[in-house]
């Protein structure tokens, strides 16, 4: 069976000069939570926006394959894509404070999604809104219908965004750092909510995050992005157990994991920053920050298989050992 969302060799260019995404490939299966993880500027959000065809002006996407439930997204017209958005693919964003229109009530903003895609009366749409707000844990949902965004807290607004995204029973929810702007307790609530929704509604979630703690908690599978490429793909447990790409290893060494940190050794860090990649760049983008780099890293890098459903983009053989610091 083919994946719900199948992306192969996605490239996104801005103004024809800088490549934000360079040949990213990953699949999201029906009903799974798939995490796209990486540091700022690695192309996670751009990838998400290009799936939705919501790239800012000047952004161009191309791919070998970009299909959703068997539909080729690249061949859809703007109008056809709009029919899919909010309907079969929904998206929520990092900025709950500004993502709702300040001039309209919560009820009207939620209802218009349903009336737009499924028709029906406004009253029916408002009823659905109340039902979904209850479902995502918003207290007194009837009262919220007439409220404006500025009367709600950040956590509540993000719940409204989630409820709004669910109005049409989508198959896929793209969540771009949905908890980054929220405080830790609210963050935990939202993550629990997403996990519940996935379980109860069979919703597939493409979750974009830079937080490995979130990945460990909610992801079924992970794609690690670096400088516009997916450098490693694996089931979550497998990735945390035996990371293969030096970048993934670096990322994992930056977070304290119980049982892995040693008292006398400091937490790791990856020196340097993500380099700007110009056109015509070849080889491994991580080589400037990698302790294993040699001349062969400037050539085309093969994708290596580490185990079933676990592959990575590096010249090194699986299970290579880290040089032990003296």
């Amino acid at each position: 069976m083919s994946a719900l969302l199948d992306i192969e060799d996605l490239e996104v260019m801005f103004g024809g000069r800088s490549a934000a995404v360079r040949g990213a490939s990953f699949q999201v299966e029906k009903g799974e939570t798939h995490c796209l993880v990486g540091e700022s500027g690695c192309g996670k959000s751009v990838t998400a926006l290009s799936i939705m065809n919501l790239l800012a002006r000047g952004g161009r996407r191309s791919a070998k394959r970009m299909s959703f439930a068997g539909t080729d997204l690249l061949s859809l017209s703007d109008r056809e894509m709009a029919r899919l958005r909010g309907n079969r693919i929904s998206m929520i964003f990092q900025e709950p404070m500004t993502s709702l229109n300040p001039a309209f009530t919560i009820g009207s903003q939620m209802a218009e999604v349903l009336t737009r895609h499924k028709g029906g009366s406004r009253t029916a749409a408002l009823e659905r809104a109340v039902e979904l707000m209850g479902r995502v844990g918003i207290t007194a949902p009837e009262m919220r219908l007439g409220q404006f965004p500025h009367q709600l807290s950040g956590g509540l607004r993000q719940r409204v965004m989630i409820a709004m995204a669910l109005m049409c029973d989508p198959e896929l929810l793209v969540a771009d750092e949905p908890t980054t702007a929220l405080d830790v307790t609210v963050q935990a609530q939202i993550l629990r909510l997403l996990a519940t929704l996935k379980r109860e509604l069979g919703l597939a979630i493409l979750l974009i995050t830079h937080d490995l703690g979130i990945v460990a908690r909610v992801a079924d599978r992970v794609s690690v992005m670096y400088a516009g490429e997916v450098v490693e793909r694996a089931p979550t447990a497998e990735l945390f157990r035996s990371p293969q790409h030096p970048y993934t290893r670096g990322l994992l060494s930056c977070v304290p994991v119980p049982g892995r940190v040693q008292r006398d050794r400091p937490l790791g860090s990856i020196p340097g920053v993500v380099p700007a990649i110009g056109p015509g760049f070849a080889g491994c983008a991580f080589r400037s920050r990698c302790s294993h780099a040699d001349a062969s890293c400037e050539r085309e890098i093969p994708r290596r298989e580490a185990a079933g459903a676990h592959d990575y983009l590096c010249r090194l053989a699986p299970q290579f050992s880290e040089p032990q610091p003296a």
Binding site: G86, L100, P102, A103, F104, V113, R116, H150, M161
Partner: protein, 305 residues
């Protein structure tokens, strides 16, 4: 909401009172009114009689309070020149000025809002640049010059519109266009920048992610937010238009309030001058109040504040 209106209303009354005081003081500062009313050939005795007849011999504060007291009930006294009560004069002239102002503002909004939206959604194209150029040229053209050009082209050469007077609705077309031009550049640029800002906002990204149609995104979600500053400025612009219509009323010989004010200043008809200033100020205050209320209706965040 009611509290907001009450507060703005109180503020408006204070402004009106200030304007009354200023209008009263400034007309007194222009010299001895009895002498100027009496004219150059009058004797000292004539001046004294006039001073008594018009009540100008009373102390200033008595004159002021008696004027304010009577103005409150709509009695602005007699005109010295027109042999008619001031309230009658204004009642006759005001509809002309209001018609002109409303025609001007309507034309301005009908032209500048679509133009601003068009320029915003086609940002950085030749169309956008054309609109920007048009607003710059519009800003630079003096209204009397435009009035004369229109009179020559539309009135004399083509003969499709009357040049002066107030007989029919056609008489208001040319002055309306000229008046509209004083507001179009500012309103167009404001609409354009408001729309550009709105279209780049997170909530428009959300609206697109919801799969809404382009028309709904532009005309509902973006325009509603971009309209907020446009409404405030439009109300103030209408105030400017009514005040600024003095030039246009003179050029097109429209006998409106502006023209009346100009005539009475020239004739030292100070009860009329005072009343004209007060009426224009009252309209201005009313417009500001109206724009505050409209803004509160458009922007829910202002309603509680």
């Amino acid at each position: 909401m009611l509290l907001l209106i009450a507060r703005r209303l109180g503020l408006g009354l204070l402004v009106a009172l200030t304007v009354m005081t200023l209008a009263f003081m400034l007309t007194r500062l222009s010299g001895d009114l009895a002498i100027s009313i009496a004219g150059p050939s009058a004797t000292q005795a004539d001046v004294e009689i006039i001073r008594k007849a018009y009540g100008l011999d009373r102390p200033l504060y008595v004159q002021f309070f008696s004027w304010v007291g009577r103005a409150m009930v709509g009695d602005f006294g007699q005109s010295y020149f027109f042999k008619d009560s001031v309230s009658n004069l204004i009642a006759k002239r005001l509809p002309i000025t209001l018609t002109l102002g409303l025609v001007g503002l309507s034309l301005a909004l009908i032209i500048s809002i679509p133009l601003g939206i068009l320029a915003a959604v086609r940002e950085n194209t030749w169309l956008d640049r054309g609109v920007t150029m048009f607003t710059m040229v519009g800003q630079a053209i003096p209204s009397f010059w435009l009035a004369l050009i229109l009179m020559i082209v539309l009135g004399l050469n083509l003969g499709i519109l009357p040049i002066s007077g107030t007989g029919t609705w056609q008489h208001f077309v040319m002055p309306g266009i000229v008046l509209a031009f004083t507001a179009i550049p500012a309103l167009t640029r404001l609409t354009r920048s408001g729309m550009i800002e709105a279209m780049a906002s997170d909530y428009i990204r959300t609206a697109r992610a919801k799969g809404l149609s382009r028309a709904r995104i532009i005309f509902k979600h973006a325009l509603r937010n971009a309209a907020i500053p446009v409404v405030s400025i439009a109300a103030v612009q209408l105030g400017f238009m009514l005040g600024g219509s003095i030039v246009i009323e003179t050029v097109f010989a429209l006998h409106g309030v502006g023209y009346l004010g100009w005539e009475s200043i020239a004739k030292n008809d100070f009860p009329v001058v005072q009343a004209v200033v007060l009426v224009l100020a009252a309209i201005y205050i009313g417009l500001t109040l109206l724009s505050d209320i409209l803004n509160a209706l458009l922007d829910p965040r202002l309603r509680t504040g």
